[in-house]
Symmetry: C2
Subunit: 394 residues, 2 copies
């Protein structure tokens, strides 16, 4: 059997563990006699179009293992949706390089990009095994119980809220923290893991899944202030009113990427607007807002060990599935096994399962009052995020 | 000799290690036969005025050691400058409680509050030993080579910038990070410790000590973009134009505390304004801004081990000095000893040395181009901050 070469690339927003998936896939591929060269395309599809590769067989395992532990996408990333012309150019490049395997690590938009490449390859009669490897801090892939990258970002968020709540205990006031998650509130929900004592924040949690009302927000905060004299609010950057339009997007630059996503991170506008609202309507003097921003996905030293291990395993699983030959256009589903002890399986499923459309926080994880999560969510998220550092109060 | 009771309290902005100083002082005081009760006043001077204390002899050492490792001010904090009437009320309360020792942990404003209490006690003939215990993430006390709290906040900043620079390598653009430090740029300067490779960010560092020019900023960024195609800027929240007025304060709420400090943290306005400037004047498409905010002083699990140990030792040193009886109104100076190996000493000095006026980043730490730090600064800061987690790139 003729050896075929493989191309692997990273796409979309970086995460703390996306390099674990890269290295998991590369080290697995190195074991196989079916795979020749292992080429890392730089900046996703852009590297393929521009012939910009790193020869990943030449990088020492020691260096790869260090890269696995380093946050962000070591090969570089992009937010490019390939069209038919791009695909033609890709297959031309692949033909010259004798590429038979293509792995794309990313979220739903990256899965959709991989799906497009896979479908166009079929149309063009170019024999190509395409695997998407799941990654997103948003935890919104329909194909996964949870996604690699989420656990670590959630660990950052829960840690940050824990520290911030301690800070707000010292200098009493209202603290608003804006958390990533364009459409899905999983990361904001994970702020609840910060709680170690009954009166710990976050005291209020606002997800994009629940229509946001300014009036209710002001009343909610006033009620907590009356009870505790302090209040920490975890607010998703994606909160939207009844009209369904994200409030942050209205305040932002209006910038969009090629998948049509409006920019919401990298600005403090939403937090500042909510702080202003509270000062004016609730007449609360000390109101502060922080937007956790890109630290949520790139902060070193905070990654969840479970998340790291799973991200690595997802990369390896994609290569195993591609080589097994049963499913030629797939993604790796992460399935939580039944039983008391936390355990997951990695299963190849059709690539469409991860592509384009996302999932939201299910209803059973959202408290009836509309500003908290349920015990079921905590049970779901805790093993993925791991234990937080101790926190002792008088 | 009659036993006297002691009161200890925390004031000003919390830090990750301020509880180390509290516990260092309390455990030292517990050893002494001269000290009776050890009372922790809640929310600084407010707790004394409101008779709100925790009996710190009744808290187990195990619990205290855990509190030492927990960020933020466990006793609560305040930003209160006592006047003559407050002092009268304080001495009345102290007389009833037979308080002979007063310890106040905080920055320059807290040192000034302690100085006022000490001077008023003298005027009122109330026998009181007063010690200020240094704390500030800003590193701007004139009495210290560096202050407890700075090393840990600097470690957060350097880690965050390291992760953020990796993120910006993946999705190329300009990233602006706003860092705490009202008047002194030490914390912003510490971002330079993030660099592990020649082309690592931060590529530009703006301190409050160097007059900020929008024109120069735009040109600086354009030059880095031309060279690397990406640029990470570490900007102090306290940057000011030639008129000396902080730009962030002009954009902010105008809120002030009782020491006259204008609010600058807890808002994303400065970062957003600088991002807008770059988009408009330099026509750069992808510009993002994050404001690190309160995470810098409260994030769990990131504290510098050196900083923790020194904060504990500073608290213990204050109690030792108070009991030694040579200086009755003091603060603890942290002095770096000469020699190759990093070592510090803790020396009692007059309380005025820490009070009110602050120090800035000295000229020899600021690069001539006005947007970087010198090797001398790195040498100064590195042992305080400690080694950062590894960072490997292709």
């Amino acid at each position: 059997m003729k050896k075929m070469n493989m191309v692997i690339a990273q796409s979309g927003g970086p995460s703390m563990v996306i390099n674990e998936s890269l290295v998991g896939a590369v080290l697995e591929a190195r074991k196989s006699a079916k795979i020749g060269k292992i080429l890392g395309a730089k900046h996703g599809i852009l590297g393929i179009l521009g012939s910009d590769y790193i020869d990943l067989k030449k990088v020492s395992e020691k260096k790869l293992r260090k890269i696995a532990e380093t946050p962000s996408s070591a090969l570089g990333s992009c937010r490019k949706k390939p069209d038919a012309d791009d695909c033609k150019a890709i297959f031309e490049a692949f033909r010259k390089l004798e590429v038979g395997y293509f792995f794309y690590i990313g979220g739903n938009d990256s899965a959709d990009a991989a799906r497009i490449v896979a479908e166009e390859a079929e149309k063009a009669n170019y024999p190509l095994v395409v695997y998407h490897i799941p990654k997103t801090i948003d935890n919104d892939l329909r194909s996964c119980d949870h996604t690699p990258g989420f656990g670590s970002a959630a660990r950052f968020v829960a840690s940050a809220i824990r520290g911030d709540d301690l800070d707000n205990r010292a200098l009493l006031g209202v603290k608003i923290d804006i958390i990533m998650g364009r459409d899905a509130g999983f990361l904001t929900a994970a702020s609840a893991l910060a709680r170690a004592h009954e009166d710990d924040g976050p005291h209020l949690i606002y997800l994009p899944e629940v229509p946001f009302s300014e009036e209710k927000f002001v009343k909610d905060v006033q009620a907590v202030m009356k009870k505790l004299g302090r209040c920490v609010c975890a607010v998703s950057e994606g909160i939207r009113g009844k009209d369904g339009v994200p409030i942050g997007a209205k305040l932002g630059s209006g910038e969009t990427d090629s998948h049509g996503n409006v920019q919401m991170s990298g600005t403090g506008a939403l937090g500042d607007a909510l702080a202003k609202l509270l000062k004016e309507k609730a007449k609360i003097k000390r109101v502060r807002a922080d937007t956790f921003g890109y630290l949520q996905r790139s902060f070193p030293s905070i990654a969840s060990k479970t998340d790291q291990a799973e991200a690595f395993a997802a990369g390896a699983a994609a290569v195993k599935a591609a080589l097994a030959g049963k499913l030629s256009k797939g993604t790796i589903a992460i399935v939580r096994e039944a039983g008391r002890k936390y355990k997951v399986a990695f299963a190849p499923v059709p690539i469409q399962n991860a592509a384009k459309y996302t999932r939201s926080v299910p209803k059973e994880y959202i408290a009836r009052n509309g500003h908290d999560v349920t015990a079921a969510f905590i049970e779901y998220a805790k093993p993925i995020v791991g234990e937080l550092p101790p926190c002792e109060i008088f």
